[in-house]
């Protein structure tokens, strides 16, 4: 691995978003492709962060700093990736379902997935099924993530999936769901593609869906 790519990995691990733009530009000037920067600089850094976080050696704010450093590089190389038609991880559409105002978990899932290289479109909280449907049509995300923290609003996930079905777009997205009272068997029952109990496994699942 070139020195500059390992520097970029280190900046990700350190969460050094200040020095990242210069380093990324330097890499581009050296003639490295955006794809190389992403796959051999940024991603190895984030993978390391993921492993350390799961092992309990890194904390949430540190992981989010790393994600921010990664974003600082992404904003430079994203247009280049688009130009060369390089497959990126894709877009995740996220929202807390209708009637539910709990959003910290959803925000965290969004930031972690962003750190894994996804683009996030966050619809916020209390999102009606129709709004999800419209957004799926508009943004054509690869993955749809729904969050619910209440037994009263869990069913809004089911309603949203039905609405997507009726609109004929259910099969255009992989659906993952989460939130404290949600379980795998509930996910199976309502026809979601996956359930994850926390943000780290949500991002792992998203990576699998995108693979």
């Amino acid at each position: 691995m070139s020195d500059i790519l390992s520097d970029i990995s280190t900046l990700v691990i350190e969460g050094n978003f200040e020095d990242m733009p210069d380093k990324t530009n330097a890499a581009v000037e050296e003639g490295l492709s955006a794809e190389e920067i992403l796959n051999n600089g940024l991603m190895p850094g984030m993978d390391h962060v993921g492993v350390e976080f799961k092992a309990g050696n890194m904390f949430v704010p540190e992981v989010l700093r790393s994600a921010k450093a990664m974003q600082a590089a992404m904003s430079i190389i994203r247009p280049m990736l688009a130009e060369t038609g390089t497959e990126t991880k894709g877009t995740i559409l996220l929202g807390t379902v209708a009637g539910d105002l709990h959003d910290i978990g959803k925000n965290l899932v969004g930031m972690m997935c962003e750190g894994a290289g996804f683009e996030i479109i966050d619809l916020g909280k209390d999102v009606e099924p129709e709004t999800f449907v419209e957004a799926v049509k508009e943004h054509k995300p690869r993955i749809l993530g729904m969050s619910a923290l209440l037994t009263t609003t869990m069913r809004a996930m089911e309603r949203t999936i039905k609405a997507l079905d009726e609109a004929g777009v259910r099969d255009t997205v992989k659906i993952m769901i989460g939130g404290a009272p949600v379980t795998q068997s509930f996910a199976d029952d309502i026809g979601a593609d996956g359930y994850a109990p926390n943000a780290a496994s949500a991002s792992d699942m998203a990576k699998q869906f995108a693979a």
């Binding site: 949430v60 105002l101 037994t151 009263t152 069913r155 379980t183 068997s185 509930f186 926390n198």
Partner: protein
Amino acid sequence: MRVNKTNYLVNRTPTFEVLTEEEIEAIYYSALTVLSETGVRVYHKEGYDLLGQHGANIEDVTEDSALVKIPPEMVDIALSTLPRKVVIYGAEPDQHKMELYKNQIYFGAGSDTPFTIDPYTGERRRAQYEDVKNFARLAEALPNLDFHMSLGIVQDVAVGTYDRWQYLAMLEGTNKPINITAVDKEGLEDQLEMAYIRVGGKEEWLKTPIFSLYIEPVSPLSHSVEVIDKLMFCAEKRIPFVYTPCPLAGATAPATLAGTAVQALTESLLGIVLSQLVRKGAPMIIGGLMSAMDMRTAVYSYGSPEMALLSAAYTQITKWLGVPEYETAGCSDAKMYDEQAAMEATMNIASAALVGGNMIHDVGYLEQGLTSSGEMMVASDEIIDMVKRILKGIPVDDDSKALHVIEEVGPGGHYLAHDHTFERFKGLIWSPKLVDRQNFEEWEASGSKTHRERVHERVIEILEQEEEPLMEEGMFNELKRICELADEKHKDEELDLDMFG
């Protein structure tokens, strides 16, 4: 009318302080700054209009909300009409009442956990009607629990009506004061109707309200439409209500605990101002459900020292303001009643009591408020008992100094058979029921049981006690009818328990 207060207790040794008076003032005046300069978002037109008419600045009006900035004078005016004492009665008002003010301490359960630990199998499963009733029966039997909340979401009924069923299940199990939750205003109206029936009419309710409502604004600094709906309805109908922000330091509030306290107080003050505009003298209790995010797991920790510390700080602030207060203890992040649960409950119960919180809730919570446990409740009851002994302190007077007895016994004698001992040991020397102090042989002979086993047996013992029903059948049916009518309206919302596997 003879009234027994539930566990009337004043902390005689309120020695636990985590803030100085200067620090309390600094937090309070900072909250006023946030309220008037940053503002709070109110998602309720009638609500922000009312605030605007009385001097608040209404800015950035959107389709569903407005940014409301409240000048300090409005807070002063509101505080001048806010009741300094709130009283909540049990379903039989002559049996139980809670007087919430100053150093009065009352403990009670938490509410609305999706899961519960089955008392017989130990399995973690979805809570149902019978569970909520059984927890209420435990509350009725446990002497140190003064009020009750629904330790479980009733999930074997239509989801939109679980609140009415929970209230019914609690009324079946206990006559102690109840802090209810409501799905929405309609759910609150139904439960108020139930309470009117239970207490013998609206007039009786106004004299002796038999529940309070639990309401939580949305941190950071937001007050949703459902929250303001409930608040305004409560103020109008003189329903005592708890307005408790649930900020999470590092996630929905600053990581610094002083910042979290400032933000929480700002959120509470909006509730105070609005309630007093709706009706001067509307009774309310402001909260304390605050913790720090665990930065490894990202959970809302219910066993953290930060929760105990923030609760204590908030208690001091509310005492300084002279406002009845809501606090959190008897809860844990453990997954079952185990050593961790006991450790965390002991810490948070002790600090809540020592600082003198008024209405201390969440006894019986495990797993960050996602699971309820009878063992946790029974064990906490004894922890509270133990801490109450500390609260009684060491009165120092001629009798307690006992110079005459010391003189009488003299060097080398003993006090075992002395009248002074016989007459005073009860209540002075605390005697446990579940904590084991036998010597080894006695302990072995009684089955070598662990604390957990003894606690478990006590849970089962209470659950298997035969009791007279607390309500007559006619009354029960009338209340049940309200729940059933609500079910009919919400038929399509039934939650299929099988769905969870």
